[in-house]
């Protein structure tokens, strides 16, 4: 069998040709994404390039994922920030969405204006445990139903109000799905049904809205969001298949131009038995996406998140020169730093910082409290200190000459002991940009997908 995977990125349309007889990747190619006119143009260009390189390629099946046209833009709404709002954000992120904003309690006028301005594809509405609070989710449903915009709504809150929610959305003429509560009982996560609903709505409505209908007609399987394909690959690589073991717990970092995605495949139980776990339990497969940490479109936001004078001191480069480079990158996202230039050094240092911040926001946080019984430690989130493998999968990491340096940002730091980041992982690179393609392939041939993934991991 021959398969062709297509990954429609915001910039490039990437093809991977897979031959099951050889059990390997036959070739890859890429061309600019042409989502504004007709995605097929870019696809055909990439296909020409592929066939120029490897000869005619007649595939049996086409598999496709997309993060073009802004990806899957979502808003998450919950009740209490640390509870259902956090659960909603987690469900949306792990379905491959780009969570633009997370809101809690009753939505304010200002927040509703923001939602209209973001113009999301989907809004995930949660709130209340089953049998718990009903007023807030009902109020928010009414408010959301009145917001102008073409977004669909997924309600995954208190089951006691399902019927009322249905009436509200039907009356308003909104596209909606009502599914199981993300937190049916206190502190218990149930994000899978919401994740599934997001996936189905993406297939049903959003694919067409993003101009991917023609492509969908050619594919046997449904088009899925690219981060979901990457996450599937991460899971496969970690857990393995029935006949072949995976590489165990891991952390993957995808540093891109607009966002930084962190995936952890790990139970995250505290490494020490003396630490008390606090807060919401987290899923084995967890993804977080940072919309303000990226190497081009979000470079200015990354700079805002940094302490610029400290950064200048660390890199021994005057602040003005760093800021000048950031300004140039923001003005011209296509710009590439010259080899062995100061700009390249700034670039790598910024990339390391982006990784550092993204992993800090992803991992668990250790806190100590002094009690009459002595010092007691508690952790909120996942303890990733013992993770054996750390994988760099984004363009900004794999194309760098210093991927090791960039990935070091993900490591535990003695200066910031609160962040439970990996202490001594082995570093790998997804040198051939294979994760999304293998995530897609795994739906058909898990064994082959795992083999290709493992073969393409490059230790550094």
């Amino acid at each position: 069998m021959k398969y062709l995977t297509v990954d429609f990125g915001s910039t490039f349309t990437k093809l991977t040709a897979i031959d099951t007889v050889q059990g390997a990747v036959a070739g890859t190619a890429r061309a600019f994404t042409t989502i504004d006119t007709d995605v097929m143009t870019g696809f055909n260009h990439a296909m020409e390039q592929l066939e120029n390189a490897i000869g005619a390629f007649h595939y049996d099946q086409l598999l496709c994922c997309s993060s073009a046209a802004g990806g899957l833009k979502m808003i998450a709404v919950g009740l209490v920030p640390d509870l259902t709002a956090k659960a909603a954000k987690m469900a949306a992120s792990s379905a491959g969405a780009k969570v633009m904003k997370t809101y809690s309690f009753e939505l304010s006028e200002k927040e509703l204006t923001e939602i209209a301005a973001v113009n999301p594809d989907l809004v995930l509405l949660c709130g209340g445990t089953d049998g718990g609070n009903r007023e807030v989710i009902l109020t928010n449903a009414r408010l959301l139903a009145a917001v102008d915009g073409n977004f669909s709504i997924i309600a995954a809150g208190n089951k006691s109000v399902d019927a009322e929610l249905e009436t509200i959305f039907k009356t308003a003429g909104k596209t909606f799905v009502i599914t199981e509560n993300v937190m049916p009982t206190f502190n218990q996560l149930n994000i899978e049904p919401a994740r599934q609903a997001i996936r189905e709505l993406f297939i049903r409505n959003i694919v067409a809205a993003k101009g991917l209908s023609k492509m969908q007609a050619l594919c046997a399987n449904a088009i899925i969001p690219t981060p979901l394909a990457v996450m599937t690959a991460c899971e496969l690589l970690s857990k393995g298949t029935r006949s072949r073991a995976g590489i165990g717990e891991l952390v993957c970092i995808d540093l891109g131009g607009a966002t930084t995605d962190v995936y952890s495949m790990a139970k995250g139980k505290p490494a020490s038995g003396h630490v008390i776990p606090k807060g919401l339990p987290e899923p084995f497969s967890k993804r977080t996406v940072e919309g303000d940490l990226g190497m081009r479109y979000s470079l200015a936001a990354l700079a805002d998140a940094l302490n610029m004078s400290d950064f200048s001191e660390e890199t021994a480069i005057p602040q003005a020169r760093i800021e000048a480079w950031i300004a140039r990158c923001t003005a011209m996202p296509d710009i590439i730093a010259a080899p062995e230039s100061e700009e390249l050094f700034i670039e790598e240092s910024l990339a390391k910082k982006a990784v550092e911040l993204a992993v800090e926001r992803h991992c668990g946080i250790l806190e100590s409290a002094y009690t009459p019984l002595g010092e007691i430690l508690s952790i909120t989130g996942k303890d990733l200190t013992e993770i054996p493998s750390l994988i760099g999968i984004g363009g900004a990491i794999i194309n760098s000459k210093e991927p090791h340096k960039i990935l070091e940002g993900a490591l535990y730091s003695a200066r910031k002991t609160g962040f439970m980041k990996p202490k001594a992982p082995r570093f790998y690179l997804d040198k051939t940009y294979i994760f999304a393609a293998m995530g897609l392939l795994s739906a058909i041939d898990e064994e082959l997908a795992l083999r290709i993934l493992t073969d393409n991991l490059k230790p550094i």
Binding site: G128, T129, G131, G132, M183, F186, N187
Partner: protein, 135 residues
């Protein structure tokens, strides 16, 4: 009739887990839907849980003698969070030393607690009160 939800836990830096488990067991047995937050629970965690679960009452335990300091301000925060008039109960070993409990109960009432219980209170007493307060 739908079960009433009770949020319970051991407040502050207190890690006395046994009484908390017995209380949670007894309340469940008495027909309540119990959300047990366990030990070392902050005021904010009690409130967050009560909001999400639409709790009918919050039952705070404290065994290590610092209960008064730990409980102070909980009523005000409940008011702020929209948990208007939610019954707040506290029990265990709330204060250090052999103090006259009538005085302690008065101080807890002044802090906005619906009721405070002296050491050695039976589970039946608390359960009967809870039925009364949540009706």
């Amino acid at each position: 009739m739908e079960k009433k939800t009770i949020v319970t836990g051991v407040i502050g830096a207190d890690v006395h887990a046994v009484g908390n488990k017995i209380l949670a067991y007894a309340l469940t047995d008495a027909g309540f839907n119990v959300v047990n937050l366990g030990v070392m629970v902050s005021q904010e965690e009690f409130i967050a849980a009560a909001i999400e679960t639409n709790a009918a009452a919050i039952v705070v335990s404290s065994l290590y003698g610092h209960g008064e300091i730990d409980c102070n301000g909980l009523r005000e925060k409940c008011e702020e969070a929209g948990l208007k008039d939610i019954p707040l109960l506290a029990g265990g070993n709330l204060v250090v030393g052999k103090q006259d409990f009538a005085e302690v109960a008065k101080r807890f009432a002044a802090m906005g607690f619906t009721k405070a219980y002296p050491p050695g209170t039976t589970l039946e007493t608390t359960i009967a009160d809870l039925h009364k307060f949540t009706d």
